[in-house]
Amino acid sequence: MIGRISGRYALRSLWRHPRRTILSMVGVGIGVAIGLIATSWMRGGTEMQIRAVSESGAGHLRVVPKGWTARRENTLRLPDAPAIDGAVRSIPAVELAAPRARVNALLAFGNRSAGVEIVGVDPEVEQRANRIVFKSRLAGRYLKPGDQNTVVVGRTLADRLRVDLDDDLYVTLSGPDGVRSAMLSIVGVLSTGARDLDAGICHVNLEVMEKISGYAGIGEISILLDDYRRIEETRRELGRQFAGLEVLSWKEVNPGIAANVEGDRGFMRALVAIIIVVVGLGIVSAQLTAVMERRREIAVLTALGMRARQVVGLVVIEAVSVALGGSVIALCIGGGVAHWLATRGVDIRALMGEEFGFGDVLLDPYIYGDFGSWIVFYALAVSVAATVAASLYPAWIASRVEPADALRT
């Protein structure tokens, strides 16, 4: 138990060497500020990558037929899709639910051909749910409900086939009843800016998909949530409702990006940990010096009857005070930079050129940091935890001062 006078003693002791105390606070502040900025960058970057994956077709969650994970067969279709679609949309966390159906096909024009995965979509939903549609430059128009035998392709695909708007593509695919073919008229050409991504874009209406492929219904419902942090709870809810289906998260749909995100997180955490350890060692050194300077005084306190844990308490109070000062500095520096990152963002075009695709994911040319009330908690928690942890060794040394020895010297 630390009382009023003990508290005063600890706080006033800090100001015996104001320069040392201020430098310690600045050290903690800068270290925690770097951690805060790195965390803001990591959280913002992670959220943006998850959003990019989800909005590029994977969804935060995806409901697929049983057996999809094992077979990755895109001609599998959901049983009683309308009921599933209705149930999915009724979940409060669900912002958008995009039904899709896929099939592999060969597109041909003249003597040129290209293999592609045709995606059947609900045009109205797709224009809101799929960033490959709503973030791309579009020549012509996108699909409309009721369109017959129309198709929207990516710019690279169009260039390979040397086609453009109003050209008719010959489609050949393997349906349930054998090889099928159809003619599709190009009404739009999408340019995402990522050549590889544009090579795989081929959208038709769900009705057209049914007609040309012979596979009835939809193969998946991609779900976008209002907050990616609700993925697991929504997944459990969907799992309860649809025991006969598979509910996948974006990580399972796109494990490459998931590994990338986890790698970035791990690197940033390691970086933050290293910075905090270095700052902590600085605090250990400063506090150890302070304890050694006051060895005789601590001996007097012990002689007067102060218990070891009370001596530890004094050193920890001093550490917490340094931590609080450090957290204010961290908030001023780190909070300012995090706010700048969150509002202005960092243009990564210099690093990536004009290509913002990663696999079949359309990334953003800017990365924005995360900024919110969490930074106050972060600055306080990390400052206090690191500084108190760093003070434990000096506190232990202080608690072991033998009064007779220290008073004799």
Partner: protein
């Protein structure tokens, strides 16, 4: 020697203390037998290096004897845990050091309150500290920090700190060593008053002949042995 009928606060039997520095052994106490009874005002005298401070440190549970038996306030010091020793120092003993050893960042009053706070005293500690300072004529110094006090004033505050909780036994290690004659006289009178009025037992070490004259009992140590033990 008058018969001693009061309770023995300190009882030492064949107490020895040997300091070891590497392979070098330096005996500081060599078979000390001593009994201090409640209400005594005793001086431990002797030249530098005679073992005075060591004896006081061992009686005050600040240090351990190498061998021998020591009972302080009815408790075998050897058997006490570190925490029990700290509790005994806090609740039953008072200390006055040669170099005052006030806490420099606390005012005189806070220095006195500090010990009361460690004892678990609540809001009354401020009042009690004030009473003690008033009683010892130090009230006008209450708000000053040690650096703003003279040596004599600091040592009087140190005595106030030592007696604030009315301990049964106060150990004072050369309390007047850094004081001039006048201040030493004032301090000794103050300690004597506390001894007589509050029945606090004092054991103080000194080699200052002016101080020795105030003691009612003088124990003389030479080379770690008691050579005389006289009541005056």
């Amino acid at each position: 020697m008058k018969p001693r009928t009061k309770e023995a606060l300190v009882s030492a039997r064949n107490l020895t203390k040997v300091y070891k520095t590497g392979k070098v052994e330096t005996p500081a106490l060599r078979g000390v037998d001593l009994e201090i009874r409640a209400g005594e005002f005793a001086a431990v005298v002797g030249p530098s290096g005679s073992g005075k401070t060591t004896l006081l440190n061992i009686i005050g549970a600040l240090d351990s004897a190498t061998s021998g038996d020591l009972t302080v306030l009815g408790r075998q010091v050897r058997t006490l845990s570190k925490r029990a020793r700290a509790d005994m120092r806090l609740l039953q003993l008072g200390f006055v050091f040669q170099a005052y050893n006030l806490i420099p960042v606390l005012t005189a009053q806070e220095n006195v309150e500090f010990v009361l706070e460690l004892q678990g005293a609540g809001d009354e500690k401020r009042m009690r500290a004030r009473e003690v300072l008033d009683h010892l004529g130090l009230s006008e110094l209450a708000g000053r920090r040690p650096a703003e006090l003279s040596g004599g004033q600091q040592q009087r505050v140190a005595v106030a700190r030592a007696v604030a909780s009315f301990p049964r036994l106060v150990l004072a290690d050369e309390p007047t060593a850094n004081l001039d004659g006048e201040n030493a006289e004032v301090l000794l009178r103050m300690m004597r008053e506390l001894n007589e009025q509050k029945q606090i037992t004092f054991i103080f070490s000194t080699h200052d002949p002016r101080v020795i004259s105030h003691a009612r009992r003088v124990v003389t140590l030479v080379d770690g042995r008691i050579v005389t033990d006289e009541e005056t």
